[in-house]
Amino acid sequence: MSEAQAAIAQPTISDFARTFRRVQAEIHKAIIGHEEAVEELLGALFAGGHVLIEGVPGTGKTTLVKTLGLALNLSFGRIQFTVDLMPADITGTRVILSAGDGHREFSFQPGPIFCHILLGDEINRATPKTQSALLEAMAELQVTVGSTTYPLAPPYFVMATLNPIEMEGTYPLPEAQLDRFLFKVRLAYPGEEELVRIITATTGPEAAGVEPVFAAGEAAAKIEGLKRLVREVLVAPQIEQYAARMVRATQPHNSRALGDLHNRVRIDAVDRYVSFGSSPRGALALIMGAKVRAMLDGRANVAYDDIDRLAHAALEHRIMLNYAAHSDNVDAAQIVDQVVKAIRAARA
């Protein structure tokens, strides 16, 4: 390694931050506010994960995803999940096609899942069986139909929206499905000032002119290059241990035995309210998201603060609460707050 290589790395890190900010700026042409949600969304994209977006109707979930597709200039697919949606409607199916000579044969007709950016709108309205059609695609970037496996072209990025209050006619997402989302992003109601800006921007004669950041045809390669660069970010063993400790702290019965004797952390709320804690994917999400944040900060290394800031996005949806939590009106965010506080104190 040499200064020349460092000189190469330096603009690459700068390039990453610059590209990231440009995409962010294009999205904010159509989306007013939600800065943190947009940053987490893009972070998940460059970390190679998928995002579950939760928000009340009308907060711009679908607009956000569509704008991202436009800004990245990648192929965009959309599935409106309904109760009668079938898995084949997502993955595609074999259909009988007749050739010109009258010969008929089965041919695979790809579903909307075959794209770079997929929007699963109101994903919890479909049955768990249909929802599970996404599992293979999200985890392994491939789709198996019958005995044939079809690879998906990278980058592949799934964004699913979820309405938290429309419980009527909805199905809970299976834990395995939830675990495959790198982050869960919450879209809250906009503030008054943001609402005024939304009114001004959307009720006028001119639509938001979102321009693609990448040229057509090279977007996928550039995004994949940036994703590889993110993986190069260095992580000290202590920070990996910190992330692992944080994930283990969300698991009941493990929170009592964290760390060594001198750094024992005890989180009663976890033992009391959590049925299942985060899976190891939670730790991966923490580290990958932290790497993106380090790159955005112009660093080649991950810091403890990067982990702390991503704890909510990476762990909340991976924590399954029990009945006592619902009874006591305790949500996952409160659990994560306590976990982060305890782990940070143990580190100090």
């Binding site: 970010v233 260095l234 992580v235 000290a236 080649a300």
Partner: protein, 455 residues
């Protein structure tokens, strides 16, 4: 110079600076342990010394135990804290990261300096960290070179300096005692005033008692009658031992040792040779009263009056609680004269001796056994003759105030509490005592009267 070599040098400089930070932090941790331990030891010793100089044995023992306990636990805690404050290189890097807001750069460089040299972003990390080397200089990470616990050590030293004069004063006192300057002396006391109690076990015998053989024999009898103080057992014995130990340790610390001085010479006298039970001269009470009266001693007259169940209204009739100076000596002389000449039981000669020895004023005060006071321990020898002059101070009277029992007389064998007597001037409606006018007694009747009184 090859670029890889320069990268190595930058890495070495970064690691060297981390090691410097570590050394500085460890130095402070060592100082903290050392200063705190010294402060606790010196401060504790000073407190013990001050307690030795200012407090009694039990107070000294309590304070010393508390100080030792606190100091021991403090030293243990300081050692634990010092051990925990030691840092390894990773901890030093982490601390420097936090204090210089380096976002984990040093931690990552240190941790991955061996394994990540082939990583794509490693040179960038080294270069980036090297550019910030001013931010993690040891003096910026930890500005202090000396631990704050030095303040505690200074305070302890100050306390020790304040305690030193106690030590010196003790030494001076010891030297003074050793040279026989002040502690030695001679005290005369009467056997009847000796209050025999169990001695303080912390005190060593340091008095020499001398008296005539008869008085010593009476003392022995009195001791046997009172019962010798037995050694306490159980908790009391332990307390005595603790007190003895504390006292000895206190004297060792302060250098003050009252027993090291010249011994106290106690001259023992016996004013009432006949009162001791079972003594050879222990005749009847009336005979003793007569002797008292013949000696014209105010104290003895008062005792005689008390034995007759009447309150004496004579000047100087109160039994002394303490023997003041020359009067005590004089009394001792009188008693010594009486005991050294047991055969001289003549009242007149004894009275004459006393009259010769006493000053004129005292003689006048004592010479009130004449006819003016007949009826009170009356002596036929004084029944006739010219009226005695009015004693000095007879225009007033003394009354005894009965007080509540107090602990002064609580010790077994000690004399009963005697209330103090106060002199109250006469009010306008009162008249001074007038001596009864005497008439001439015919010589023929004098013999009859004498015979009546002799009976």
């Amino acid at each position: 110079m090859p670029e890889s070599r320069r990268d190595e040098q930058k890495l070495w400089l970064i690691l060297f600076q981390i090691r410097s930070v570590r050394s500085r932090l460890n130095l402070l941790a060592t100082q903290q342990w050392l200063f705190t331990t010294l402060a606790l030891m010196i401060g504790g010793a000073a407190l013990i010394l001050i307690a030795a100089a200012k407090l009694g044995p039990f107070g000294f023992l309590g304070v010393s135990a508390a100080v030792l306990l606190i100091a021991a636990s403090g030293i243990f805690a300081a050692a634990r804290r010092g051990w925990a404050a030691r840092v390894d290189a990773a901890s030093a890097a982490g601390l420097a990261d936090r204090r210089a807001d380096l976002k984990g750069r040093l931690t990552t460089v240190l941790a991955l300096s061996e394994s990540a040299k082939q990583a794509q972003l490693w040179p960038f990390l080294v270069e980036d960290t090297y550019a910030m080397r001013d931010d993690f200089e040891p003096r910026r990470i930890e500005p202090r070179l000396v631990s704050r616990s030095l303040g505690a050590l200074m305070a302890a030293l100050l306390l020790a300096v304040m305690a030193l004069p106690n030590l010196n004063r003790g030494g001076a006192a010891a030297r003074q005692i050793a040279s026989g300057g002040a502690a030695g002396g001679q005290v005369t006391a009467d056997l009847s005033q000796l209050q025999i109690q169990p001695a303080d076990p912390a005190l060593q015998p340091n008095a020499q008692i001398y008296a005539d053989p008869e008085t010593l024999r009476r003392l022995q009898q009195k001791l046997e009658a009172e019962g010798s103080p037995h050694q306490r057992k159980g908790l009391g014995g332990l307390m005595d031992k603790a007190r003895h130990f504390a006292d000895a340790f206190q004297h060792q610390l302060t250098g003050r040792n009252p027993e090291a001085g010249a011994p106290l010479n106690l001259r023992l006298t016996d004013r009432n040779p006949g009162r001791a039970s079972g003594g050879p001269n222990g005749g009847g009470q009336s005979r003793q009263m007569a002797q008292n009266s013949a000696n014209a001693n105010a104290h003895r007259g008062a005792a005689g009056a008390a034995s007759n169940g009447r309150r004496a209204s004579r000047p100087g009739a109160s039994p002394p609680a303490a023997i003041p100076g020359s009067q005590a000596d004089q009394m001792a002389k009188n008693s010594a004269g009486a005991t050294s000449q047991p055969d001289q039981n003549s009242n007149s000669s004894q009275a004459g001796a006393n009259n010769n020895a006493n000053p004129p004023e005292q003689d006048a005060a004592n010479d009130f056994g004449g006819g003016a006071n007949h009826g009170i321990g009356a002596d036929p020898g004084h029944l006739f003759g010219p009226p005695a002059p009015q004693p000095f101070g007879s225009d007033s009277f003394k009354i005894a105030i009965d007080a509540e029992p107090s602990d002064e007389a609580s010790a077994p064998g000690s004399p009963a509490y005697l209330p103090p007597k106060v002199r109250v001037p006469l009010n306008p409606n009162q008249l001074p005592d007038e001596p009864i006018a005497r008439a001439a007694v015919p010589a023929t009747e004098q013999t009859i009267i004498k015979r009546v009184f002799d009976r």
